[in-house]
Symmetry: C2
Subunit: 283 residues, 2 copies
């Protein structure tokens, strides 16, 4: 998805996508570096259905290979015209720092009691969304966009990224089990602090709050009972609508940013189509 | 040591060392990133007498903090004049890749039976020496050196780095216990593949070879007996002289590279002094 966004952003300004190819690969290399290191931290056994690097080989190799991929990402990112070298690398630096910071905040959340909705949104902005924004801004600059227009693409990417992550949280509970690739309710089983749980904890009062807290602190509950109970509370509190509203707000902001870009409307159709496709997925 | 080499190399060409300050800090930041990740891989409890980051906090924080420091190193490295941006980053990329590759090769050595002297020297060139070379080449370019002269500084740094590492191996066995900060014979106790051990395994024949192999494969030997026995074999084989000769060859190459740099001889005195000080240390 990310390198495609880089190429589409480049194409939007009539740039040659061949010029954006290596930086786009750099974005994907960077993304995979973060996955490789995240998988160590999460002790994840599988990635894309295959053993993770630290499982297949060992942790040291996964740390070092990730480091190498980050360096390789910089090398690929440097394959731009001379006048773009500094601007592109500055965006890449800020993006990379944001993603690492978001990962650290996400890990901190696991130890924290009270995470607010706004703290959660800031975390997903950093961990997920800035990389989409950075991918598009870099593509736009390579395509010849003026800085202002590249910023619009950044806004498109970041807001799309937040909407995308919110949708991920919604699908975990309300996804069609036949189409959703993962186990429905996985986040609830794992007590994961998603937008839905955090919003519910902020909204709930009285008995609802007591019941929600009960389930969150139940380590040994029957998983299915727990998922059903928490989903019922979400329904009573109207959490699904709140989450969808929030998601639609960000999707709307993303599309507005795209609309403001002064290029032919037909040129934007592909990007709009790509965004809409991302946000109606059921898996 | 490394950032000082950057500043000295800059000064050699009459460059303003203020211009080299942030890149020099970037070099040190990069070096500390490698230490932080190496300490995880080596499960090291202490660094500079204090708990390592993964000990004091946790492994995930040490992985992520290292990642952040690598990104920060790139940011600092970018604080150079426009025309130097690409050359400096290209040197930095190659240096960073070399260091990571050297660390991987060093880890591979632990699992390997037969490591040759030339493989060992290639490993220390990558793991230790290229960073000294890179530090100096970057400093030289910032100081205004012509590419050829910057290459001489690179040669100076790399050869100095190899000599420095060989000295480290020698000091581990023959260092003055009162001056050497670490336990003398630590490498022998840990069966570490140093220049001395590899050279001895290549040189030894007959009974010497048998005896050396016996000690290397002795996991539960009394440490002091083992250190004494291996040191005695080293003496019989003349390993200390071989190692010192090798070290002096690299030191000589380093100083020759420095001599060829066409700047006033007085300007070079500081760098020569620094190099000599590094190579007569007893700790």
């Amino acid at each position: 998805m990310r390198p495609v966004l880089t190429l589409l952003a480049c194409d939007l300004f009539n740039g040659s996508i061949l010029k954006a190819l290596n930086p786009a690969i750099g974005i994907e290399m960077f993304h995979n570096f973060t996955l490789m290191h995240d998988d160590i931290m999460d002790k994840a056994p599988l990635r894309r259905g295959k053993p993770t690097v630290h499982e297949q080989w060992n942790e040291s190799s996964a740390i070092l290979s990730g480091d190498m991929m980050l360096i390789e990402a910089y090398k690929l990112m440097m394959d731009v015209d001379e006048k773009l070298l500094r601007p592109v690398l500055e965006i890449f630096n800020e993006t990379a720092k944001g993603v690492c910071e978001g990962q650290q905040i996400d890990m901190n959340f696991e130890q924290l009691e009270g995470v607010s909705v706004s703290e959660y949104k800031e975390m997903i902005r950093l961990k997920t969304a800035v990389l989409l924004g950075g991918s598009m801004k870099i593509g736009a600059l390579i395509g010849g966009a003026a800085p202002d227009h590249a910023d619009l693409l950044y806004g498109f990417g970041v807001n799309l990224g937040i909407a995308f992550q919110l949708q991920d949280d919604i699908l975990d509970v309300y996804g069609d089990p036949d189409k959703f690739g993962k186990q429905v309710g996985g986040d609830i089983r794992a007590n994961k602090k998603t937008f839905l749980l955090i919003q519910a904890l902020e909204t709930a009062e009285g008995l609802d709050k007591e019941e929600l807290n009960y389930w969150v602190n139940q380590e040994n509950a029957d998983p299915e009972t727990k998922v059903n109970a928490v989903t019922t509370i979400y329904s009573r509190l109207g959490i699904r609508s709140l989450a969808e509203e929030e998601m639609n707000n960000y999707a709307e902001k993303a599309l507005q940013a795209l609309e403001s870009v002064p290029v032919d409307i037909e040129k934007k159709e592909r990007l709009r189509g790509f965004a809409e496709q991302l946000l109606v997925r059921e898996n």
